[in-house]
Point group: C2
Chain length 358, copies 2
């Protein structure tokens, strides 16, 4: 039975990195007769330009029908000036996450040994770094109601958002994190602000509750401010971290940057059935779009995650990851991860190298 992969190139460097990732996916599709079929659609700024909205119905339909989705990136200054808050590239991304129930966001922060020098941290602090951040992606303050800007008595405007989680949402993401920890180092750190925010008091309670079902996993709790500090001070103390949408946004980006090579980091956003959207951790980098400078490896590694989590092709995922490691061993580098003695390559040349390695 054939499976459908929806490709969403998006904005900025999105199209060029997705192009290389698609080559890799097409290659393994042939090599291993995976039976994948591809469709493509517009999202984000590209969709605003074509259809006036960031998530056209056709795109949402295609996303619902697909078995897995590969996304480049969305956003750019071009669309920042649009006054309507609903007509923003980001709303396309948020709309897919929410409409498809992609609540489980997996963000690995891995430091490739070949790129140890790239980090702004001292080598001994980050060498061998391998953290998985599990971020809740369809709830919390991102989607909480009520929200908006209202006029108070006296004519003063006030902006407001609601940070809300119910037990079920917390338990659902908690399970994803405990399961992931069980497959890894068996250590889970739940991040909250339970000394100030009631919503995270509930979060902590449910995590404690779940821990009884996972006696093999060691659960700890950490306040978000301390977690941000500990990531800077001694990131290798962490195995899996789990947190809500907003804290996860901040901490996963900080963790990614610890590696100094965010151009290497993929991510997965999964629904209850393991269907998912896959995208690089980095953004659309409009400043370098179209110049062949972008690093396609995070997107190629996102393809590997897709094969592993949504398409049940873990062996093929391993092969792609090995191919990426191999091109690094060949000293090939896009500019973002360039260093002395290495060979600079373009986006397409990096794609060529991975294809050759496969």
């Amino acid at each position: 039975m054939s499976k459908n992969v929806l490709i969403l190139p998006g904005d900025g460097i999105g199209p060029e990195i997705v192009e290389q990732a698609k080559r890799v996916l097409e290659l393994v599709n042939e090599q291993y007769s995976l039976g994948l079929e591809f469709t493509e659609a517009l999202v984000g700024g590209a969709a605003i330009d074509a259809d006036g909205i960031p998530l056209p119905e056709a795109t949402l339909d295609a996303a619902k029908k697909a078995d897995a989705i590969l996304l480049g990136a969305v956003g750019g200054p071009k669309w920042d000036a649009i006054p309507d808050f609903q007509i923003r590239p980001e709303k396309g991304l948020l709309g897919i996450r929410s409409n498809l129930g992609l609540f489980g966001n997996l963000r690995p922060a891995i430091l490739y040994p070949q790129l140890a020098h790239a980090s702004s941290l001292k080598p001994e602090i980050v060498s061998g770094l391998d953290i998985l951040i599990v971020r809740e992606l369809t709830g919390g303050i991102y989607f909480g109601q009520p929200r908006g800007v209202r006029v108070k008595e006296g004519g003063v405007r006030e902006g407001y958002n609601t940070y809300v989680y119910d037990e079920n949402e917390i338990r659902r993401i908690g399970r994803v994190a405990f399961e992931a920890a069980r497959q890894r180092g068996k250590k889970l750190c739940s991040v909250d602000k339970a000394n100030v925010l009631e919503v995270t008091v509930l979060w902590r309670e449910i995590m404690d509750d779940l821990a009884k079902e996972y006696p093999d996993v060691e659960l700890s709790h950490m306040y978000v401010d301390n977690a941000a500090m500990q990531l800077v001070r001694a990131p290798k103390q962490f195995d899996v971290m789990v947190t809500g949408n907003m804290f996860g946004d901040i901490l996963s980006d900080a963790a990614a940057m610890l590696t100094g090579s965010i151009g290497m980091l993929p991510s997965a956003s999964l629904d209850v059935n393991g269907k998912g959207m896959y995208e690089p951790c980095h953004g659309s980098a409009p400043d370098i779009a179209g110049q062949g400078k972008a690093n396609p490896l995070a997107t190629i590694l996102s393809v590997a995650m897709m094969l592993r989590y949504s398409l049940n092709e873990g062996d093929t995922a391993d092969k792609i990851e090995a191919a990426v490691s191999q091109v690094l061993d060949q000293n090939l580098r896009t500019v973002d991860i360039m260093s002395d003695g290495m060979t600079v390559v373009t986006t397409a040349q990096m794609g060529d190298a991975v294809v050759a390695a496969l």
Copy 2:
């Protein structure tokens, strides 16, 4: 006319670090005839132990009457098990901030040249680091209503908090930040999540508005996830950063940890008239309390900030800061900032050294 300084030792290492800071304050009070008088009161866990609540009325009254407040730190595992969310050490701190209207939190992240090695970041990334984070401290999600845990239809519990700011609150903290930037490097970065949260769309609008009054200050905007990354990647790009209560909590701790010497960092929390509470950036460190290991320098530097911002004694503040730099030059180090070839000293010995230097 005499001025009153309220001393709140608090919990954990609070009493021992405050003791040294008080010695310094008493000394300069005599040396320069500052006319300061001291009172002392309980807050946090110490107040829970004595009076059952974290902010007794007598403490709040004394705080209101004082011209400035010196706080050690609050909190510890001893009080974590209390089921009533209102009976927590942190509520004492939050209660003073809120009741006294201490909305303007100044958190410098400065790397002392003598301690450059202490950072987990590479020296070239952090040497000379000097950032000021201006955090709004009496609003945002910390104090927003409604909040709590409620039972939804079907018996499912849901926790919720409200992230809210009105124009006046934003403008007020914005001015503090623009004024600070004007006195420093004339660069202000406002941190928000305006691509997702309506409350921060208003925040951004007001900051843009204020910028017209400060043409000499260069205002930029950054999303909070990117700000967390940029702090790790290249922190020296920042001069002054301004943000809300929750983002400020996270980013100021991350920024402090970039220095690797959080035991050196003071903070100020100011009201509209410049009255303020001063405290170290670090916490109550219950694990080392009572052992003479704590670094009193952040609290001593908080005294310097107090003299500068609330007591109009900037020259005396300079002298204290010079004395701290001098003891570092004498190679004296508490354990938290210890390194090869330096001399370990206790909390009290560090206090002695600063007193001697003065």
